[in-house]
């Protein structure tokens, strides 16, 4: 039972890493996610149903997300609309596309076909089925995390981070920010779609409505992670995202299990997730307000000192 939370959380964590890339590293509030996670699920499901190997299905899911992210980046780059709006446009268009991919059905089951989660217990025969799923998912997540960590240490990855911090600097140092955004949002949504592809196999179906509210859930997970420790190292950022994802899924699990005691039903989860994000923002704001109040005091002290100095200088003159 508890293994389930971890599998769920680990699959979710790949999406959270994707959201980490757009929201935190690139500093682009990208809402494509709600669409691209469902696209990944739909593409992987249809690929598996049509008999393609699981690995290929996941690769196609990843690529479909890359394309979705690039569409958002292109709208943002070429039409100069804010990233937020560009993402909403893509997300909305994806809803229709996802239904098309699913053959105009809202829901396609993965029955009587081999999926990652029917194969894993066969591969790790010596483990109980749930544990086999957990180990397999953990390996996938660690692989993804490692690749992302390496990528963001390369010159290209570092310049993506630099663009998130200061776009002018990246331009001044000769990189085309449009290309960087295409790469960054492509990668981000590729991971999100990959997560969707895994999720469809784990839950045994793809659903056109799968993505509703996913960005906010992902943000909640990132913020939960950010309470754990502070860092600017990429390997710890991704690790934190994974922890946050698991904690979030854990909270949801206990909400589902014991929520009835305080009359909470799964219908309330989106509200609660939103409140969680707001609470996290509030706490983060109070924290930074506290530290900037300190900085302000220092600044006033400095300026007083300077005035004293000026007066003295005038007195001497």
């Amino acid at each position: 039972m508890l293994e389930g939370i971890f599998v769920d959380g680990l699959i979710f964590s790949i999406m959270v890493i994707g959201i980490l890339i757009s929201f935190r590293i690139l500093d682009i509030p990208d809402l494509t996610c709600d669409g691209s996670v469902a696209t990944g699920a739909a593409v992987a499901t249809m690929a598996i149903v049509s008999g393609l190997p699981i690995f290929v299905a996941l690769l196609l899911a990843f690529l479909s997300g890359v394309i979705a992210g690039m569409v958002t980046a292109a709208i943002h780059n070429e039409l100069k609309v804010p990233g937020l709006l560009a993402g909403i446009l893509t997300m909305t268009m994806l809803y229709s596309i996802n239904l098309r991919v699913l053959g105009n059905k809202a829901n396609v089951p993965l029955l009587r076909v081999e999926t990652l989660y029917s194969k894993l217990p066969e591969t790790f025969k010596f483990l109980p089925a749930e544990w086999a799923s957990l180990v397999g998912t953990l390996l996938v997540v660690l692989l993804v995390k490692e690749l992302i960590d390496i990528f963001f240490r390369t010159d290209l990855g570092v310049s993506l981070g630099a663009m998130g911090g200061n776009e002018q600097m990246v331009i001044s140092l000769g990189s085309n920010p449009k290309v960087l955004k295409l790469i960054g949002l492509g990668l981000s949504n590729g991971l999100i779609a990959l997560s969707g592809g895994l999720l469809a196999q784990y839950q045994g179906f793809a659903d056109a409505n799968l993505g509703t509210g996913m960005v906010v859930q992902g943000l909640a997970a990132i913020m939960l992670g950010e309470f754990l420790f502070s860092t600017n190292r990429i390997s710890l950022l991704t690790l934190r995202a994974i922890f946050g994802a698991i904690i979030y899924k854990g909270l949801m699990f206990f909400g589902r299990k014991y929520g009835y005691l305080i009359h909470i039903t799964p219908n309330d989860f989106k509200l609660l997730t939103g409140i969680l994000v707001i609470a996290s923002l509030f706490i983060a704001q109070t924290r930074s307000a506290a530290s900037s109040a300190g900085a302000k005091k220092k600044a006033i002290a400095r300026s007083l000192e300077k005035h004293e100095g000026d007066k003295e200088a005038k007195g001497n003159a």
Binding site: N166, M169, L173, V179
Partner: protein, 263 residues
């Protein structure tokens, strides 16, 4: 090295807000020139720099850099050979990254690949380069932790190691306190000599403009009204400069508003 021909820039043409910021400007900068640009607020100095670096397109005219017409080359391409430093110290560095990552991004100018070029050899080099600005032991620190003066010094260093052919400095010490401004200005002088750069520098300090570099350009209302070189420039005094401005423009410096300081 740089040739501006009939450069005009009109903001919001055809609207009530229409504003001619540059009016048929011609400027020729030779390799090795160090040009101080002065002029009151709104005279078009920053606009001139924005056009040279490609931040804005020109309304009319031609920009030739190193024998190549760059009039419609995007900013990030021109940046490969034109290094620019802004007044705002936060514009030149990424606060969310360490000093070494910032330095390395500058070192590998241009579109980046999937290489990890930051290694211990590079770190040793950065340490050496950072000595003049006293940051040699803070490679791993986030740039956001630095003071404005330190950040501007770092920006200067980064711009220089990215090996531009020309440097555009737009009041790059104006946001700093006098002591830090002096430090950054000394570094500027040192780096320009060491790396044999061609530079254009906006300043509001007339005495400084007379002392620094080999050329002085004065702008007013979108025009270059004075362009002095060598002997002519070195013999100049602030009073003489003010007198010539009055003669040329039949008006007086509004000293408070104009922000032109004498020393």
């Amino acid at each position: 090295m740089l040739d501006l021909t009939n450069i005009t820039k009109v903001f919001y043409p055809g609207t009530v807000n229409e504003k001619t910021a540059l009016d048929n400007v011609n400027l020729h900068v030779n390799k090795g020139d160090i040009v101080c640009v002065i002029g009151s607020n709104g005279s078009g100095k920053s606009t001139l720099f924005n056009l040279i670096s490609g931040t804005y397109p020109v309304t009319n005219g031609k920009i030739i850099f190193d024998q190549i017409d760059v009039t419609s080359t995007p900013e990030y391409r021109r940046a490969m050979s034109i290094g620019r430093i802004f007044q705002d110290p936060t514009k030149g560095t990424a606060a969310n990254m360490s000093i070494e990552d910032n330095m390395n991004t500058a070192m590998t100018k241009g579109m980046k690949g999937l290489r990890i070029s930051l290694n211990n050899e590079r770190r040793a080099l950065f340490k050496e380069l950072l000595k003049p600005i006293g940051l040699e032991n803070r490679l791993k620190d986030n740039v956001g932790l630095l003071s404005g003066g330190q950040r501007q010094a770092l920006t200067l260093l980064m711009t220089v190691i990215s090996k531009p052919k020309m440097l555009l400095l737009d009041e790059h010490t104006a946001a700093l306190d006098p002591r830090n401004a002096q430090i950054v200005m000394n570094l500027t002088e040192r780096f320009i000599k060491e790396y044999q750069l061609t530079a254009l520098m906006v300043t509001h300090n007339m005495q400084f403009a007379i002392d620094f570099g080999n050329r002085l350009v004065m702008m007013d209302e979108g025009n270059i009204i004075l362009d002095l070189e060598g002997e002519q420039k070195s013999k100049l005094t602030v009073d003489e400069l003010v007198r010539r401005f009055k003669n040329l423009r039949k008006k007086t410096f509004d000293n408070d508003e104009g922000l032109l300081t004498r020393d």
